[in-house]
């Protein structure tokens, strides 16, 4: 095989695998995006995703329903989110501290629930089946990529478009962004900042849970301890990189999807390089990306600030 054909096969592999790997990050980052625009920094995404991984798997094993698995995984993460909301919105505690605690709780719960339910047996599940559209899916090269993904990916895409529309083209979205910029102004406009922040946190939790469930069900097919390995934090970083714009979030997630597929594929081509260096790649890329954005990004002004009512 000559170099060009290797390159071609390799890049096809990366492109075809990209959307699946991008999906959990995109889901979590979309939720975090809404969270942050309402002014709540949620570092607990990692914990929420981890809780989603085990709940999604367990529900799928016991009920056999993909819909229920994703739904309940999302709702379980919402519970953690409400906890975060209670502490940061109602009690006005520091959001970094609370987010770290939420991360710990989700992290511990995921491993604990798995061990309690399944002991040491490894549970393997089948991914959500891909859709098939006659003719379109069979198109050469792009068919599988555009028309042959699983339904969750399309739903996430629709959610992304919907959120972009909501945030930048509706009254509700304007209100939400105002809460993130200046809760006092929002309150004077007749908007309830507490309500909006809670709603954002519920949405953020739900999406993180779905991202986690997708990771176990559709990517790995089984549970591993701490399997998100920082994906939740990468999602937070991606929101900074995307400058709070969902369409940039999609591009960023796809880029990360490409990074994951890239190193998983290239590992087998270059066995002489220790695999650990490839494993470091997503984290180094994250650092480079947010270095590139740096302080040029205009964060919501009231991000990570509790809203304390005062004159």
């Amino acid at each position: 095989m000559n170099f060009l054909s290797v390159l071609f096969i390799f890049s096809m592999a990366v492109i075809l695998g990209m959307p699946v790997r991008a999906a959990p990050i995109f889901a979590a980052a979309l939720g975090e995006n809404v969270d942050q625009q309402a002014g709540t920094l949620n570092l607990g995404v990692e914990g929420m995703m981890l809780l989603g991984t085990i709940v999604g798997l367990a529900v799928l094993v016991y009920t056999g329903s993909y819909l229920l698995a994703f739904l309940i995984a999302g709702l379980s993460a919402v519970l953690l989110g409400l906890f975060h909301g209670l502490v940061t919105i109602t009690l006005k505690a520091d959001q970094v501290v609370s987010g770290t605690a939420i991360w710990f709780i989700g992290w511990g719960l995921s491993g604990y629930i798995y061990t309690a339910l399944f002991k040491t047996t490894e549970i393997v599940v089948k991914p959500v089946p891909d859709i098939y559209i006659p003719y379109l899916t069979n198109l050469p090269y792009i068919g599988k990529f555009l028309f042959g993904e699983d339904p969750v990916i399309y739903l996430l895409l629709i959610a992304g478009i919907g959120i972009n529309f909501f945030l930048y083209h509706t009254k509700g979205g304007l209100n939400l962004r105002t809460v993130g910029e200046d809760p006092l102004v929002a309150e004077i406009m007749g908007v309830n900042p507490t309500l909006y922040r809670y709603a954002a946190i519920i949405f953020g939790g739900f999406m993180a849970g779905i991202g986690g469930a997708y990771l176990t069900i559709s990517i790995v097919g089984a549970f591993e301890f701490d399997m998100t390995a920082g994906m939740g934090f990468i999602a937070v970083a991606l929101v900074y990189f995307a400058k709070w714009k969902p369409y940039r979030l999609l591009l960023g997630s796809l880029a990360f999807g490409a990074v994951y597929v890239f190193y998983l594929t290239i590992e087998s081509y270059l066995p002489s390089i220790p695999y650990q260096f490839f494993e470091m790649l997503p984290y180094i890329v994250t650092m480079v990306l947010i270095l590139y954005v740096g302080s040029r990004a205009h964060a919501p002004a009231a991000l990570a600030m509790p809203y304390i009512k005062e004159g």
Partner: protein, 359 residues
């Protein structure tokens, strides 16, 4: 701080413990007796206390390390990475000088190099924050993951011990026993290093100009700037010191307790001192002396959980849940009272402002 506050926080921590005990039901263990048995195993027996004190040593040191930037509200979540790189450097110099130098010199060199290693790992996130305004929580965290894979590579590659290779337990060669930190009545002498660091940092934060400026920065960067505090220089010093001390924790762990560089898995709470240090430092109100107590408390929970694992087969992940719940309930304990008091004062003023805006 009101007089009733510490009591209130302890009360909330107990609530957190009680809530976490209900997870024991999933393993068919009675919650309250289970959690009491856990605390008894960690603090009630002689063996338990010795194990707890030993486990608390790295926890104390890393927690003290992260307190320094936390005081200035600079969230160094990278204690884990700094600790790991410190232990890499310490192991490397320890194995390199073994036998050719007297133990005292080996130990001094290892202390120094672990400090340098930890500080080195703290440098990029700090520079990125100060010159490019990146979020330090994310960058310090990313450095942790890189460090984990670095250790993974080293212990299964260049630094892997011959004996360890045969047993398929990835780790470096053992530090020879003359160089190891010795034990006194079963407790490693590293605890003295930990307490010396705690006292030194307590004085640094409380009684020096640098510490005063850090506390000022924690309240408000603008206020600190007006007061003439060199923000960037202080931040660099605080972070390099923090990383260095976290690195020393790695040295103490390698020379005192583990005696080799071990594989540190992401999911393994028993090697994740850098993460555990966060709740430890926070529930001690960033006070280095109280941190010693809270670290011993956290180490005791970990040791009790080992016993629960052996006796009832309960997953060690319970410890992580307990840490998280203790952390979040402690914050509730801090915030709840204060909130109720300030609300009474502020309600009247806000209504006036809303009225004024409407008119």
């Amino acid at each position: 701080m009101q007089i009733g506050k510490p009591l209130q926080i302890i009360f909330f921590i107990i609530i957190g413990l009680i809530i976490s005990s209900f997870f024991l039901l999933a393993s068919n263990v009675s919650p309250i007796s289970g959690i009491l048995y856990m605390l008894y195993s960690g603090f009630g027996t002689r063996i338990g206390v010795i194990a707890t004190l030993n486990d608390s040593i790295p926890m104390i040191i890393v927690a003290i390390a992260i307190i320094i930037p936390f005081t200035a509200k600079f969230w160094n979540i990278g204690g884990q990475g700094q600790y790991l790189v410190g232990s890499i450097f310490a192991t490397w110099i320890g194995l390199d000088l073994a036998g050719s130098m007297p133990p005292a010199i080996v130990i001094m060199a290892a202390l120094l190099l672990s400090f340098v290693g930890g500080a080195l790992w703290a440098f990029p996130p700090t520079a990125m924050k100060l010159y490019f305004g990146t979020n330090e929580v994310i960058t310090t965290l990313m450095m942790n993951f890189v460090a984990v894979y670095l250790v993974d590579y080293l212990v299964s590659g260049p630094m892997e011990g011959a004996l360890q290779r045969a047993t398929h337990a990835p780790s470096s060669s053992t530090i020879p026993s003359p160089d190891q930190l010795f034990y006194l009545h079963g407790v490693n002498i590293g605890i003295v290093i930990a307490i010396v660091i705690a006292v030194a940092i307590f004085f640094l934060i409380r009684y020096t100009n640098f510490g005063y400026e850090l506390r000022l920065m924690g309240n408000s960067n603008i206020a600190a700037q007006y007061a003439g505090a060199p923000l960037k220089r202080n931040m660099f010093q605080a972070m390099l010191l923090s990383g260095g001390i976290a690195g020393i924790a790695g040295m103490v762990q390698v020379f005192g307790l583990a005696h080799a560089l071990l594989l540190s898995e992401l999911s393994d709470i028993t090697t994740s001192f850098g993460y555990v240090a966060i709740p430890i430092a926070l529930i001690a109100f960033l006070n280095p002396l109280l941190t010693v107590i809270s670290a011993i408390f956290f180490a005791g929970i970990l040791n009790g959980a080992y016993v629960l694992e052996v006796v009832y087969g309960i997953s060690l992940n319970l410890v992580i849940i307990i840490y998280g719940l203790i952390m979040i309930f402690a914050i509730m304990g801090v915030m709840i009272n204060l909130n109720r008091v300030t609300k009474l004062f502020r309600r009247g003023r806000k209504n006036k402002l809303v009225e004024a805006a409407k008119n």
